[in-house]
C-alpha cells in the first residue's frame, strides 16, 4: 500500500501534493463511517449527557434540573437496583455457565468421530432462532400449566418448577434459553481446540499424563485467550440483554398485547429486569427522558469498562478470533 510518509526534511511540492491526495482518498473511503460516527454516535452521546441534567417529557422545552434525575434513579426509582442485581446474577451465573457449556460442547464435538457434521449442525441451529421466537417457544415449553417440560418432569416424578412465573426460577429459565443457543461459543471453542498443536498432546501422553492432566496442562493454556474472549464478550452481551427477558416476562404475565399497552417490565416480581429495559420504561412508558438518559449513561460506563478490558490486550483478545 502506498504510505503517508512522516514529514521528511527534503519534502518537495510534488510530495506534499501526493500526501494531500492520499489524505483526501482516505477521507473519501472513511466518509460513510465518519458521518455515521458523528450523527449516530458522537452527537447522541453528548446529547444523552445533556438530557441527563434536564427535565424533559417530550413536550415543551427541556428545563435544567441539575442532578435531580441522577438522585432519582439511584435513590427513588424502584426498578434500578433490582435491574443491577439481576445483571450481576446474569454475569456471574449465566455467563459462567455459557462459557463452561460452550467449552464442553466444543470438546464433545471435536471428540465425536461418527456423523460429526450432523451433530455440529444440530448443536448450532438453536443459536439461529430469532430471540423473540425462541423466547416465545421457551415460554410455551416451560409454561407451568400444560408445558411439555413440566408434563415430562411430573411424569417421571420430579417436582416441576414455575419457571417464568416464579421469581426464583425465571432467571434459571432464561439461562436455560441462553444455553440452548450456545452455537456461537461452540464454533469459537471448536476452532480453538482444533488449533492446539497435536504434538503437545502426544508428548503429554508419552509422559503418562491422564486425560484430565492433558486438558489441564495442554488444552487449557492453549485456549485460555479464547476463554477470556468468551467471558468478556459474554459480559458485554449481558449489558445488552433485552428482548428475551422482556418477552419472557410479558408472555408469562399474560398482559401481553398490541401497541400502547402498558407493561411494567420485570415480571415476575422484578426478577427479569435488565438495564436496557429501564431505558425503555423511563423514556417510552414514563416519558421521563432525563432519567432514561441517566440509566443509558450507567449502561454506557459499564459497557465501555468491559470493552476497555477487551482492547487492552488487543493482540490476545479482540483478534483472538482470526
Amino acid at each position: 500500500m502506498s504510505t503517508v510518509t512522516p514529514a521528511s526534511k527534503g519534502r518537495s511540492a510534488g510530495l506534499a501534493a501526493k500526501q494531500r491526495r492520499q489524505a483526501l482518498r482516505t477521507a473519501a473511503f472513511m466518509s460513510p463511517w465518519l458521518i455515521g460516527f458523528a450523527v449516530f454516535f458522537a452527537y447522541p452521546l453528548i446529547s444523552t449527557v445533556y438530557f441527563s441534567f434536564m427535565h424533559y417529557d417530550g413536550f415543551g422545552t427541556p428545563t435544567w434540573t441539575g442532578t435531580r434525575n441522577w438522585t432519582y434513579v439511584f435513590e427513588n426509582y424502584p426498578l434500578f437496583w433490582p435491574a443491577l442485581r439481576n445483571t450481576l446474577w446474569l454475569v456471574l451465573i449465566m455467563v459462567t455457565l455459557r462459557v463452561l457449556f460452550g467449552l464442553g460442547i466444543g470438546l464433545l464435538i471435536t471428540k465425536i468421530k461418527t456423523g460429526t457434521g450432523v451433530f455440529r449442525t444440530l448443536f448450532y441451529l438453536p443459536y439461529l432462532a430469532p430471540p423473540v421466537a425462541a423466547t416465545m417457544a421457551f415460554a410455551f415449553l416451560l409454561n407451568p400449566g400444560t408445558g411439555p417440560v413440566n408434563s415430562i418432569l411430573e411424569g417421571i416424578g420430579v417436582p416441576a418448577p414455575g419457571w417464568f412465573n416464579d421469581p426464583s426460577w425465571s432467571k434459571p429459565a432464561l439461562t436455560l434459553l441462553a444455553l440452548w443457543g450456545i452455537g456461537d461459543l461452540m464454533v469459537i471453542f471448536m476452532a480453538a481446540l482444533l488449533d492446539v498443536p497435536r504434538e503437545q498432546y502426544e508428548a503429554a501422553e508419552l509422559d503418562g499424563a491422564s486425560a484430565w492432566q492433558r486438558f489441564r496442562f495442554v488444552t487449557l493454556p492453549n485456549i485460555s485467550p479464547i476463554v477470556m474472549f468468551a467471558v468478556v464478550t459474554g459480559v458485554i452481551q449481558t449489558m445488552q440483554y433485552y428482548a428475551q427477558p422482556l418477552i419472557a416476562g410479558k408472555v408469562a404475565s399474560g398482559v401481553i398485547q398490541g401497541a400502547g399497552t402498558q407493561f411494567e417490565p420485570g415480571y415476575p416480581d422484578k426478577s427479569t429486569l435488565t438495564l436496557p429495559q429501564l431505558v425503555y420504561n423511563l423514556g417510552f412508558q414514563r416519558f421521563d427522558y432525563g432519567s432514561a438518559c441517566v440509566v443509558a449513561l450507567v449502561l454506557f460506563a459499564l459497557s465501555m469498562a468491559f470493552t476497555g478490558l477487551l482492547m487492552r490486550r488487543r493482540g490476545g483478545l479482540i483478534q483472538a478470533g482470526d
Binding site: 500500500m1 447522541p44 430469532p130 401497541a259
Partner: protein, 297 residues
C-alpha cells in the same frame, strides 16, 4: 459405527490382554462420547420438535398435556397467514432486512478497506472507536436518536429510522470485513497499482472478488440482525401496525391469540423457518464469519 462393530470380529485371533483392554477402552469411549452427543442433540432439537408438534394440534389439544397431535391441523398455518397484518409484517421484515443489508455492505466495504490497507494518522483510534460502537448497547443513545427521528424528521411509525443509518457503515460489519481484508496479501494490491489501477478500481476489481466470503458473512449477519431486531421496531414502529416486522408482530400475535398456543407456535415456526433455511444455503460463510470475529451480530 461399522468400523467399531467390525473390530471384535477381526480380533478373534488371540490378542494380548493389554491390547484387548486398550481396544475395549476405545469402544467404551466411542460409546460414551456418542451417547453424550445424542443426549446433547436431544437437548438442542427437542424444543423445535415440541414447538412444531404443538403448531399442528387443534386449539383445545394444545391446551392439554399431550405431546403429539391427535389430528394434524395443517390449516393452522393457513390461519396464521390469514391473520390481519401477518403478510404486511413479512413484507416489512424483508424490506428492513433486505435494504438494510445492501446499504450496510455497500457503505461498510470502503471503510473496512481503508482501515485494513491504508496507513494514516488516526487509524488505530478509528478502529478502537469502531470496536467501541460495536460493543455499545443501542439503548445508550436511543433517547436523542428517537427525538431526532420522531420530533425533527417526523419519521416515527416507519422503519426508516432503522434503515437510513445503515447507509453510514455498521460498526460490526466494518470490523468483521476489516478482519477479513487484512488477510489479503499486499502483493495483490501492489500488482494492481503497477498495472495502473487507482484505489477505487483496485478495491472493485481485485479486493472485492477475493473478499467474497467475508462479504457473504457480513451480509448474512446483517440480514439476521434485522430479522431478529426487536428493540428497533419497538421504538420506531410500534405506534403503526402497518410498519411492524415479524419479530415485533409475533409478540402481539400472542396477545391477540391469547390461549391459542397452536397458532402462536405456528407463527413462531414461520418466523424461525426462513432464518434456518438461509443458514442451510449459506452454512459455510456463516460459520466462517463466527470464527472470524467471535462476536454475534
Amino acid at each position: 459405527m461399522t468400523q467399531v462393530l467390525a473390530k471384535p470380529v477381526e480380533s478373534k485371533a488371540p490378542a494380548s490382554p493389554a491390547e484387548r483392554t486398550a481396544r475395549r477402552r476405545a469402544v467404551l469411549e466411542w460409546v460414551g462420547i456418542h451417547s453424550l452427543g445424542v443426549a446433547a442433540a436431544l437437548f438442542f432439537t427437542l424444543p423445535f420438535v415440541f414447538v412444531f408438534l404443538t403448531s399442528l394440534m387443534s386449539g383445545s389439544q394444545a391446551l392439554s398435556r399431550d405431546l403429539v397431535p391427535r389430528t394434524w391441523e395443517w390449516g393452522n398455518y393457513a390461519a396464521v397467514f390469514d391473520t390481519p397484518g401477518f403478510l404486511t409484517w413479512w413484507r416489512n421484515t424483508l424490506l428492513y432486512a433486505g435494504a438494510g443489508t445492501v446499504l450496510t455492505v455497500v457503505s461498510s466495504i470502503p471503510v473496512a478497506y481503508a482501515l485494513a490497507k491504508f496507513r494514516f494518522r488516526g487509524r488505530d483510534l478509528s478502529l478502537m472507536l469502531v470496536i467501541s460502537m460495536m460493543m455499545l448497547p443501542p439503548q445508550v443513545v436511543v433517547i436523542p436518536m428517537y427525538l431526532f427521528w420522531a420530533k425533527q424528521l417526523d419519521l416515527s411509525g416507519t422503519l426508516w429510522p432503522l434503515i437510513i443509518p445503515m447507509a453510514f457503515g455498521d460498526a460490526f460489519s466494518i470490523f468483521l470485513l476489516r478482519q477479513f481484508l487484512t488477510t489479503i496479501p499486499n502483493e495483490y494490491l501492489d500488482a494492481a497499482r503497477v498495472d495502473g489501477c487507482g484505489d477505487l478500481r483496485t478495491l472493485l476489481r481485485v479486493v472485492l472478488p477475493m473478499a467474497k466470503p467475508g462479504i457473504a458473512a457480513v451480509a448474512l449477519f446483517q440480514f439476521f440482525y434485522a430479522w431478529n431486531d426487536y428493540f428497533g421496531p419497538q421504538i420506531y414502529a410500534s405506534e403503526n401496525p402497518g410498519a411492524w416486522t415479524l419479530s415485533y408482530g409475533l409478540e402481539s400475535f400472542k396477545g391477540a391469540h391469547h390461549t391459542d398456543w397452536n397458532l402462536t407456535m405456528a407463527a413462531t415456526v414461520l418466523v424461525m423457518a426462513p432464518v434456518i433455511l438461509v443458514f442451510f444455503f449459506a452454512q459455510k460463510a456463516f460459520v466462517e464469519g463466527v470464527t472470524l470475529t467471535g462476536v454475534k451480530g
